[in-house]
């Protein structure tokens, strides 16, 4: 059951220019969060600008210490306001929202493909997989715009079997799309499932690659949100359904995670 919480920020660190990692004390979130879920953060200090909360993925939990982490990349006023919060400040969140990635012992060889701000929920995912199964094989593919935006490399490296990095301009790792790296590996590997989160063009490619290779694929989608809990119906995505050709499902409640083969990518 989701809750409104006023929690204390443990630490804030600018891990790259304009990218901030937050650690927050929250027994509730650390005990209840599942990979793929997000929190909805108040960022207006009681003025009405911006009016809405901001959905941000849970990047990790420390169930013993009772903390969870998230990372924001400053984009507009909401993320900028969040970036100005400090350790010991209180943060007003709604948590834990949305569904989660399917994690199962039957998946023994997985690929994880993330781009930009889409990489954050994937760290939580692979950490949980490692806890579940010491022998799991995880190939992680991360795409960034350029070297300056490459973050959490060590965290991902230590949690993955193989870590592949691509940058658009080649300033770090492979030059080009992260999906090019996936295509290269997918022939050799025998993935049980691919998980992905990131920009829409990347997600579409990953879904296509998965389909072409007959591999299960789960996608975490983004959409502009209002309430974050399924009441206002603004955050839809188009999902194939059994009885109808398609149906508008709600990213905040039915998602953010969907099976790739059910998503009707429109634009």
């Amino acid at each position: 059951m989701p809750k409104m919480l006023l929690e204390e920020i443990k630490s804030v660190e600018e891990i790259a220019k304009g990218i901030f990692k937050f650690s927050v004390f929250s027994d509730y979130v650390s005990k209840n969060a599942k990979p793929g879920q997000f929190v909805n953060i108040k960022c207006n200090d009681d003025s009405y600008v911006p009016l809405l909360r901001r959905p941000i993925s849970i990047m990790n939990v420390d169930r013993e210490k009772g903390t969870f982490d998230f990372v924001i990349q400053v984009k507009g006023i909401g993320t900028e306001n969040i970036s100005k919060m400090n350790a010991r400040d209180k943060i007003d969140i709604m948590a834990c929202l949305g569904n989660s990635f399917e994690i199962s012992e039957s998946y023994k060889n997985i690929a994880v493909v993330g781009g930009g701000i889409g990489i954050f929920p994937l760290l939580f995912l692979i950490n949980d997989f490692n806890e579940l199964n010491k022998n799991i094989k995880i190939d992680t593919f991360l795409g960034f715009r350029n070297k300056d935006l490459v973050v959490l490399e060590n965290e991902f490296k230590s949690a993955s079997g193989n870590l592949f990095i691509a940058t658009d301009d080649g300033s770090y790792g492979h030059k080009g799309l992260v999906t090019e790296l996936l295509i290269k590996e997918i022939g050799e590997s025998d993935y049980d499932i691919i998980y992905t989160c990131g920009p829409l063009p990347m997600i579409r490619k990953v879904a296509l690659i998965a389909a072409n290779n007959n591999i299960k694929c789960q996608v975490s989608l983004e959409q502009r949100m209002g309430c974050g809990i399924g009441a206002c119906l603004v955050c839809v995505c188009n999902i194939k359904s059994n009885d109808k050709a398609h149906e508008y499902k709600h990213v905040c409640k039915d998602g953010p995670v969907f099976w790739a083969d059910k998503i009707v990518f429109e634009d």
Binding site: P2, M4, R53, M94, Q223, C227, I229, C235, K253
Partner: protein, 306 residues
């Protein structure tokens, strides 16, 4: 200190307090039941119901504007049958009034939905004649007095519940339209629905909403809403339910003083799921500390002589 009585009776609807969750922002109450005790609400206005299920508009459906939001949901709803089967039983578990918000593309559709709901355990029907996000249908009725009058009259014939007509602010003279609803059988009017607006992504050079335009709500529209409530309550004799930008209890007091007998809280729920409860508590305190014993005492109490 004497106890304050928050009960109100509006157009035959007994509300335990004058604070109602506004249509479209509160679903059918399920989601918010996880954050607040629905038993404490005066009422819940449901998402707009149509005869058949509707998918609504393409995403994106929301844009943020200064102190407001634009939405273009466009009446996504499971249809009146699913509402009757799945949602009424859920809502009846709580001790709060159910106001079924009804929309349609044709007079026939409105009538059919109202007829079905008249047999159900709902406390009132709110006729949405003013949804700006649907091309055909409701907006056309709500923006002139003839359309409003005709639709109200037809629905009234079939409607066995208290009938609230919800007015559009996108008009030259809202009082004229309110009077027409009153003359044709409305038991109350509610206002305002959203103002038609638009927001543009200057990098993409596209409207942010796939639907191009959407409905503006939230604190930004409050001054327009208060003015319209004031105007309408000077014109009609039936009760007025006020809304538009109510986020805190003091916003609600403005509406009562302007002439509203009850109020609805919409957009505020999105950023603060406890908004309705906080508004109720604040109203109670205001009445107490100003030595009023009921809401009725402050309705329309505004001093306007100089």
């Amino acid at each position: 200190m004497k106890m304050v009585d928050l009960k109100v009776n509006i157009a035959g609807i007994d509300l335990k307090n004058p604070v109602i969750a506004a249509s479209g922002t509160f679903g059918f109450g399920r989601e918010y039941s996880e954050f607040i005790d629905l038993n404490r609400l005066g009422g819940i206005a449901t998402k707009g119901l149509t005869l058949n299920p509707r998918q609504g508009n393409k995403p994106p459906r929301i844009a943020e504007t200064p102190s407001g939001i634009l939405n273009s949901v466009g009446l996504q709803n499971p249809g009146v049958k699913a509402f009757i089967e799945d949602e009424i039983p859920f809502l009846k578990k709580f001790n709060t009034s159910i106001i079924a918000n009804v929309a349609g593309s044709t007079i026939e559709e409105y009538c059919e939905v109202v007829e079905m709901l008249s047999e159900q355990d709902v406390d009132a029907i709110e006729l949405n004649i003013s949804c700006p996000n649907v091309r055909e249908g409701c907006l056309a009725f709500g923006t002139n007095k003839e359309g409003t009058g005709f639709l109200t009259k037809e629905v009234r014939k079939l409607c066995k519940k208290p009938l609230i007509v919800k007015l559009s602010p996108n008009v030259t003279d809202i009082s004229e339209i309110a009077l027409s609803a009153e003359a044709n059988g409305a038991d109350a009017v509610s206002l305002i629905n959203t103002l038609v607006g638009m927001s543009i992504d200057i990098d993409e050079r596209r409207p942010i909403l796939a639907n191009i335009v959407g409905g503006l709500s939230g604190p930004a529209v409050k001054p327009v809403a208060v003015r319209m409530v004031y105007e309408v309550s000077q014109s009609v004799k039936i009760p007025v339910i006020g809304m538009g930008g109510i986020s805190k209890w003091d916003d609600a007091i403005e509406f009562f003083l302007a002439g509203a007998s009850a109020i609805m809280v919409g957009t505020a729920n999105m950023s603060n799921p406890r908004a309705t409860i906080e508004v109720i508590e604040g109203i109670e305190k205001y009445l107490e500390s100003n030595h009023f014993s009921s809401i009725g005492e402050i309705v329309g109490l505004l001093k306007t002589e100089q």
